[in-house]
């Protein structure tokens, strides 16, 4: 199921007596429009649609598959290729570092992750590694109280590495999942990219999760690349899917960092959190 707006497009193929290159080009143009409107990186869209067109023109539908089903299969196949192999966060002792641009939902997602691991029988702790944003400490502390997990932070400490190291030392024996919140930052802030690398070196996290707002546009790819160059990203969390945004930026980011989307955020509460499902994402992307 490729989404509503492509349904009309695909009907053209279903109703066509003969699927010629003109029709294929028309269908590919519709797919291109859908991907561009979904905020997928422009160069990636052009690459993808070229591939889809080539395959649709050259490949014969396998036995038993209609022309329409074959085109759907090609589009789905190419998008799943970009998304990469699915993976789930392992249910075991680990350190998770949250990174991303400003206002994407990192701090809120810390609470959601804590709830997720708590339900799996593990003991998470939240570490307030954001020493810059006003009341970041209070925000994470209140979240930890809402989801009922331990919290560590130091309101007076301006050195993020120091706070995180102290939190790690205090909780590594009593907690299973250590979730480290960090400040928002962007690729042009050399001092903050440096700070992120320092936190990474000090904590040696098992997971480095890049948090991305579903409404992010063409900056998703380039920023993800910068974050990945600094600390190898192991997974993506796509937030605010309860809005109308399609989340195409996450596709670009997944392509840049070579890591899959692992979770999605669907609201402001700690329960608004789901494992990533490629089929649903692709249907919404093209819809």
């Amino acid at each position: 199921d490729l989404g509503d707006s492509l349904r009309g497009t695909l009907k053209k193929i279903a109703n066509a007596v003969h699927v010629d290159s003109k029709l294929i080009k028309e269908v590919v143009r519709d797919i291109q429009r859908a991907l561009l409107q979904a905020d997928v990186n422009v160069k990636l869209v052009l690459e993808l649609t070229k591939k889809i067109e080539k395959r649709a023109l050259q490949e014969k539908p396998p036995a038993g598959m209609s022309n329409r089903e074959h085109v759907i299969h090609i589009v789905y196949d190419e998008l799943v290729n970009i998304l990469g192999d699915s993976r789930e966060l392992p249910i075991k002792k680990q350190i998770i570092m949250m990174v991303g641009l400003y206002g994407q939902g990192k701090t809120t997602t810390c609470g959601k992750l804590a709830t997720f691991f708590k339900k799996k029988g593990l003991r998470p702790v939240l570490i307030a590694g954001d020493v810059h944003r006003p009341a970041a400490y209070e925000q994470l502390k209140q979240i930890s109280e809402q989801v009922k997990v331990p919290f560590y932070g130091d309101k007076s400490e301006k050195d993020a590495v120091k706070v995180v190291k102290e939190g790690l030392n205090k909780f590594k024996r009593v907690s299973d999942v250590i979730i480290v919140d960090t400040s928002g930052r962007h690729k042009l802030e050399n001092d903050l990219i440096s700070e992120m690398k320092d936190i990474f070196k000090a904590t040696k996290p098992d997971e480095k999760l890049l948090v991305i707002d579903a409404a992010t546009g063409q900056q998703a790819g380039p920023q993800a690349k910068a974050f990945n160059d600094a600390v190898k990203i192991s997974g993506i969390v796509l937030t605010k899917l309860d809005g109308t945004a399609k989340g195409g930026g996450a596709l670009s980011a997944a392509s840049e960092v070579g890591a899959p989307i692992v979770f999605i955020g669907t609201g402001e509460h700690s329960g608004d959190f789901e494992k990533f499902e490629p089929a649903g994402f692709i249907s919404r992307l093209l819809g």
Binding site: Q37, K187, A215, Q219, K240, D242, G243, T244, K246
Partner: protein, 278 residues
């Protein structure tokens, strides 16, 4: 003697890609293309100057959209009856709370007093966050407890401003997505009670096509008077500024260019033109 449809599309394609890569929304680009095609089809031109001409027509169309609704913000503030109530709205995480701190700083530079109203009574740490800003900027903040009615906080702040002769009330509200009917209703209720003189939509320059949906819906629910586009310093080209201006026809007042209280500067259409066509 005009240009064929195919030739036009081919010429426009390169410019289109540039606009898309700058985060101008797809539907907005299609509309602008339609607007200028009439002009281009009937244009007379020199064969070798055609690319230049097409780009100039596009530039003029875009520049027209960006300039068409400019207002002088400080003139408005200085000439309006006090207290002026300015309500800040927008999607989660767009930068509303910081924009208020920057606004209070700017107003004080012009000798204009303000009071902040902690209208986000929902999100963790929201009241504490605005309180720290109020303290740093040196303005009064009116706040109730977490979970309080935002409309009541607004009402309280306006009362305070009238009593203490404060010029401006800066009303912070919680982030919300336009698909949340309850929160859209809450925003409409805050407007009914606070009767703001100005409703400012705070949009994120990092956002792409969704900026159109956001601005359209917020404008339908409460009516937007002006826009602030944040996080322009993140290397975002800010095409959403054009998308929003085209969609709701309201002025882009300021752009946010960083974390500092001085990092909110008046929007210059030429800056946007250089970004998009640079």
């Amino acid at each position: 003697r005009g240009i064929s449809e195919e030739k036009l599309d081919a010429l426009l394609w390169e410019l289109e890609v540039g606009l898309l890569e700058s985060d101008v929304a797809y539907t907005v680009i299609e509309s602008i293309k339609k607007d200028i095609k009439e002009e281009l089809r009937n244009a007379s031109f020199e064969r070798d100057k055609i690319n230049e001409m097409v780009e100039n027509v596009l530039r003029n169309a875009i520049s027209h959209v960006l300039k068409s609704s400019e207002i002088d913000f400080m003139d408005f503030i200085k000439s309006s009856k006090k207290p002026i109530v300015i309500m800040f709205v927008g999607v989660n995480g767009s930068g509303k709370t910081l924009a208020i701190a920057k606004m209070a700083t700017l107003l004080r530079k012009y000798g204009i007093s303000s009071v902040m109203a902690a209208g986000d009574t929902f999100r963790a740490g929201a009241i504490e966050q605005l309180s720290i800003h109020a303290d740093k900027v040196g303005v009064k903040i009116i706040k109730h407890g977490s979970g309080a009615d935002p409309a009541a906080v607004a009402y309280d702040a306006i009362d305070h401003a009238k009593a203490k002769h404060k010029d401006v009330v800066l009303l912070d509200t919680a982030g919300r997505v336009q698909t949340n009917i309850n929160l859209m209703d809450e925003m409409a209720k805050i407007k009914r009670v606070a009767k703001p003189d100005l409703i400012i939509f705070v949009g994120d320059a990092l956002s792409g096509n969704d900026a159109v949906e956001q601005a359209k819906r917020f404008n339908e629910v409460v009516g937007i008077d002006g826009v602030i586009l944040t996080k322009v310093d993140t290397d975002a080209k800010g095409g959403s500024a054009l998308s929003v201006a085209y969609t709701i026809g309201k002025p882009l007042l300021f752009i946010g260019v960083g974390q500092g209280y001085e990092d909110q500067i008046p929007f210059e259409p030429q800056w946007m033109m250089d970004n998009i066509f640079g």
